[in-house]
Amino acid sequence: MTRQPIPVSRPTDAPRPAVPAGLVSAPALRPPRDRPRRMTNLLRLLPYLKPYRVRWTAMLVAAFASLGATIAIPLMTKAVIDGPVRHHDEHGLWLLGTAALGVGMSEAILWFIRRWLVSRATMGVERDIREDLYARLQVLPMSFHNQWQSGQLLSRIMNDLSTVRRFLSFGIVFLALNIVQIVVVSGILLRLYWPLGVVVLISIVPIAATVLHNQRQYTKFSRMAQDQAGVVATGVEESALGLRVIKSFGREDYVYDRFDTQVTELFDIQLRKVRLQARFWTLLEVIPNLTLIVVLGLGAAATGDGRITLGTLVAFITMMLSLVWPIASLGFLLSLTQECMTAADRVTEIFDAPQPIADGPVNAVSPAGRLRLRDVGFRFPSDDERDSGWALRHVDLELAPGETVALVGATGSGKSVLTSLIPRLYDVSEGSIEIDGTDIRELTLPALRSTVATAFEDPTLFSLSVRENLTLGRPDATEAQITEAIDVAQAQFVHELPFGLDTRIGEQGMSLSGGQRQRLSLARAVLATPKVLVLDDTLSALDVHTEALVEHALRNVLQDVTGIVVAHRASTVLLADRVALIEKGTITHVGTHAQLLATVPSYRYLLAADDELDDGAEPDPEWSDDDRRTGLREQHDVDECTDDTCRECATLRSRPTPYGATEGAGR
């Protein structure tokens, strides 16, 4: 970790720093309007087009120029038929032919230019927004991420952005182009021979109506089909993840029946979509053909009477047919516009998400590691009413530099949340946390997070090499330091992987067992050489033997750092100098393991393992003391017990001498 000062926030206009700050995200986004309209969020994304504005404008110009050529070609046909052909003017024919060739070629070339330019411009916009969105998501706090499933975020960063790109690259272009084409061609048709022009204009009405109606219906069915496909996918996912359970109980038929119902429903919806589409595509061919018939009939009559020329009739027919596609695609383009506005809403929603956890001004790394929690309270910032109660309240705890405190508590008592507060994955809702007298909110996030290292209960490994996974918190670690951390965590198995430390692991690489992952996660935390080390029940998946080895090694590590250890077992508790018992979100007792075991029944309930599960092979000596533990079997006296293998006695015998046992801030 380079400990250079990192700017608190980046001015929007400043160039990107050479070393990405990472903790800062400044999207090129316009601020939201006071009175939002449907288009607002889409317009707010417009600044992303700025770096590509020359290309994009050139693309628009090319598009309109090629439209001119498209319209000109049938008119040239008319000119040929009415001019040279009629008047036997061979020279004129060549002249017009050359002109037509020129127009035709330039149409193709302009078309090519438009497509070539648009690819760079819009793909660039898509990438830029994507990168900014990712940067923002990395900075947004845990409270945000808890509310959003990664699937939802994924659909924003992939599907929604590609919708925006499609809209920018051709949606908006063709929307404009087609409307212009329809208007201009209709005008020309009216000018050529107005009665026929009116016929064509009238025929536009049913086509447009069909198109719009179809689009509405189609969107409805598509959404239904999509939802149902989602249901089917969930069913499939469940049947794949729960496969072993399904097989164990032999419930294949039961699961299949459920799947069959879902998939049949999907089939029914799809069939309705097929019928709708069949009708639509048929109408789309039939209506223009019927118009063609009318135009032919009336046009031929008019030609026969000499009211229009033959060339006009031919141009009329070709132009009329050239209108079909622009009208038909209007429905699709309008719905793309709708989709794009929705996509823009969904994207800006993430940019607009509050970002409460930000850098403080102090970038100094604390030298000692005195940790103090002052009247800390925490509640999840959630709109879910059930969860809005306090997860933690009135938590006071002070850790001297080098001291280790174990957190013990029942599931849901708030231990894990407490550990997340220290690296500011969440911010306290009230009270404060201080390191060496500085409120952690005053520190920059890199400074804080290089001071605090956490090994989480659910060890997250990335699809990187073992080495990179280990050195996450300390990229400059030496080989010797890495080996040492590996030894502490008893993760020597990595040396036996096919490529040793360079073996790629994680989701896309080698899969490791839960215990192996936990050990790597522990090694990672240890390697970070923090001032404050937080171990959130890091040893739960280890077998007894390994656990003992890890604990032995950890003892040394914990001598030099301030440690918080979440513990479910007595063996882990013994790593700590003191124990804090958390009950219902607050610390109720602080003391040594022995003290708490002796005086706090609820602590005994949590940690005095298995005493009722003695195998009955040994007799239970009488227990003299009064014990309030109802429902649990009695403890027995160490001194009276003669059985070497008696677990309870062993527990008490190996109890460490209470050092540093000050009754702390127990309430």
């Binding site: 970790m1 070393v19 990405p20 990472g22 052909v85 032919g97 037509a100 070629m105 070339i109 078309w111 090519f112 497509r115 648009v118 660039g124 990438r127 994507r130 990168e131 990712y134 940067a135 990395q138 991420h145 990664s150 994924l154 996912e237 049947s239 359970v245 097989k247 164990s248 089939f267 097929v274 009708r279 595509w281 053909n289 018939i293 032919l296 009939g297 031929a300 009559a301 030609t303 033959l310 029942a410 690296p423 994955l425 989480f456 997250t460 090499s465 990179e468 996450l472 490529f499 896309q508 690489g509 215990g515 063996s571 309930y605 949590l606 393992a609 003695d614 092979a617 293998t645 109890r655």
Partner: protein
């Protein structure tokens, strides 16, 4: 992303094969069942054939209909030509509109035929497509359920989901959009080519000169886009993987200040995705205007040459018009072809993948004539069972084990000792390489799955919760169970208390993957499920390893209820779980080292179990 591993010189020297192995190219090599050989392609064709087989007659009828439809569509310009050449002169000369009216009437008829045939074709072909798709979905689902655990271990659930959804949808796309447009395009091309020549031999032949040019263009485009298509999918996958990994591991990302490096990696993959998308776009940018260029040149040629023929009096204006209309028709389908190549490509590779899955035979097959078990006592016997996952590396070198009905046996040993293998052989997730596993004297291979699953149930540490209520999840053990039975099962394992405290009791939705329940609660529900299923033999694999002590205590009590009166095999890291057993087997490298009651084993001074037990006792200190 690909550069992240190449820090050491050793890593840089690695061959492609080793890079693949490390997972750098996991996405492309992950499709391990598809070797893109001719056999796979044949399989894919056979699969398609078998999906469409039930509809052969209907398809034949549709073939006729589609020809009629195209004939009707293609005859419109000719009739327009007739209208111009033969309808107009009578009007000009003797104000006689009769011929024109006849032609218009014919046109109306033709359009009616076209409408009827088109709507029929679209409906029926769509229906066949959807039916085939339904069939495919069912088959794939069924087959995945049938394939054995060994297969699923390797294949991973992610790929099961992607085969059953994405790949099926790729085929759907082709059936919905591609099929009709391809057929129409081909028929139009052939039809117009013929008509052009018939209308006017010289002009028609001139037009056909463009045909090889178009074919060459399409050929080039097809090959070029096939290459980029694959790259697009791969680079999209890289973006998705990097994104999902960051978001699911966001806690570690933030805690370890991984953001800057992540941003670098992401920008690299995002830019790669952009570049390859741009390349694809540019192929289209070349192809489409080229087709247009050819079309426009041909139009000009027809216009000039045709115009010249007309002014020389060798051709009529009507024919010229018809020619121009046909040229339009001739070039239009070419635009659709770009779209079709992509859908066709993803559909055919999807079809190959699905065919490969469907061609995989489950390693565990039902016997042809299953033995009827009758009442099962639950005696289990391993008779010289040998087993290995990889040939030459036996996990079980020859296991003999007899478990009398009703006994609870705990398996103890280090990782790799073969505990889980024994459990899985007992549940017949695997079959032994040699030797036999018997239930009440019957070889498991002679028993069909429904019977076996009725009597032998395995509960793993996953404790998978299905979507639905708590009651639904318990009922999974016995779908026909009444509510009273479900409550009884929950009470028996001591789960009734926490269920009662849930907002809606038994009808509480467990939320996604049981997110509403704690690990201990999920375990209890899983036990209730097993209790309700009431098998003669129950196997518990590491069922209690990740629980905290109060939950473990709760589960431990439930365990005793669940295990009573049945044969049980327990695997546990926590010795507390082992304590409930009648008998302990200490295993190493697939061999039984110690065998006896827990008390006996603890008693033996230098025994392994005694040593393990001591270590455990110390750990509880």
């Amino acid at each position: 992303m690909t550069t992240t591993d190449t820090k050491t010189p050793a890593a840089e020297q690695d061959s492609d094969a080793s890079l693949r192995w490390r997972g750098l190219m996991a996405d492309s090599s992950g499709e391990d069942l598809v070797d893109h050989g001719s056999a796979t392609r044949r399989n894919a064709r056979e699969l398609l054939g078998s999906l469409l087989a039930p509809y052969t007659k209907l398809i034949a009828a549709l073939a006729v209909i589609v020809v009629i439809e195209n004939a009707a569509r293609l005859s419109v310009p000719i009739l327009v030509q007739f209208g111009i050449d033969h309808g107009i002169p009578p009007i000009t000369h003797h104000h006689d509109a009769h011929d024109l009216l006849v032609i218009v009437a014919v046109l109306v008829g033709v359009v009616a035929v076209q409408a009827a045939s088109r709507v029929t074709f679209l409906r029926q072909s769509g229906r066949i497509g959807e039916l085939a798709l339904l069939d495919l979905r069912r088959r794939v689902f069924r087959h995945f359920q049938k394939l054995d655990v060994t297969f699923h271990d390797k294949f991973t659930s992610g790929r099961v989901v992607s085969r059953s959804t994405n790949d099926v949808e790729a085929i759907q796309d082709m059936l919905e959009n591609g099929f009709d447009s391809l057929l129409t395009a081909v028929l139009t091309l052939i039809g117009t080519a013929v008509l052009l020549v018939v209308l006017n031999v010289e002009l028609g032949l001139i037009c056909l000169i463009s045909f090889p040019v178009l074919v060459a263009l399409a050929w080039w485009f097809r090959n070029a886009s096939r290459r980029t298509y694959r790259e697009v999918r791969e680079s999209a996958a890289l973006v998705i993987v990097q994104f999902v990994e960051t978001m699911t591991g966001i806690k570690a990302v933030q805690a370890y200040r991984r953001e800057p490096r992540n941003q670098e990696i992401f920008e690299e993959v995002a830019d790669r995705y952009r570049a390859i998308n741009e390349k694809t776009f540019r192929l289209v940018a070349i192809f489409m205007p080229s087709v247009d260029l050819v079309g426009n040149i041909m139009t000009t040629v027809v216009l000039v040459y045709g115009g010249w023929r007309v002014l020389e009096g060798h051709m009529t204006v009507g024919v010229l018009t018809a020619f121009l209309l046909y040229l339009r028709m001739f070039f239009e389908p070419m635009q659709d072809i770009t779209q079709f190549f992509n859908t066709f490509q993803s559909a055919s590779s999807a079809l190959e993948k699905l065919a490969a899955v469907l061609a995989t035979q489950p390693g565990i097959a039902d016997p042809e004539q299953p033995v009827q078990l009758g009442t099962v006592q639950g005696a289990v016997e391993f008779d010289n069972v040998q087993f290995s996952y990889v040939e030459g590396r036996p996990v079980l070198p020859g296991l003999d084990l007899h478990i009398p009905a009703g006994q609870t046996v705990a398996l103890v040993g280090t990782t790799g000792a073969g505990k889980t293998t024994i459990a899985k052989l007992m549940a017949r997730f695997y079959d032994p390489v040699s030797g036999a596993v018997r239930l009440d004297g019957t070889d498991l291979r002679d028993v069909d799955q429904p019977q076996l699953r009725r009597h032998v149930v395995m509960v793993t540490q996953e404790n998978f919760m299905f979507e639905g209520t708590v009651a639904d999840n318990i009922r999974f053990g016995k779908p026909e169970a009444t509510d009273a039975e479900i409550r009884a099962a929950a009470e028996a394992v001591g789960a009734d208390q926490f269920i009662g405290e849930l907002p809606n009791g038994y009808d509480t939705d467990v939320a996604k993957r049981g997110g509403r329940l704690s690990a201990g609660q999920r375990q209890l529900v899983a036990f209730a499920r097993a209790f309700l299923a009431d098998p003669a033999v129950l196997i518990l694999d590491e069922a209690t390893s990740s629980l905290d002590i109060p939950s473990e205590r709760l589960v431990q009590r439930a365990l005793e209820t669940v295990l009573a009166d049945r044969t049980a095999l327990i695997i546990a890291h926590r010795l507390s779980t082992v304590e409930v057993a009648d008998r302990v087997l200490v295993l190493e490298h697939g061999r039984v080292l110690e065998d006896g009651s827990p008390a006996d084993l603890i008693g033996s001074a230098d025994g392994r179990y005694a040593a393990l037990h001591r270590a455990w006792v110390e750990s509880l200190a």
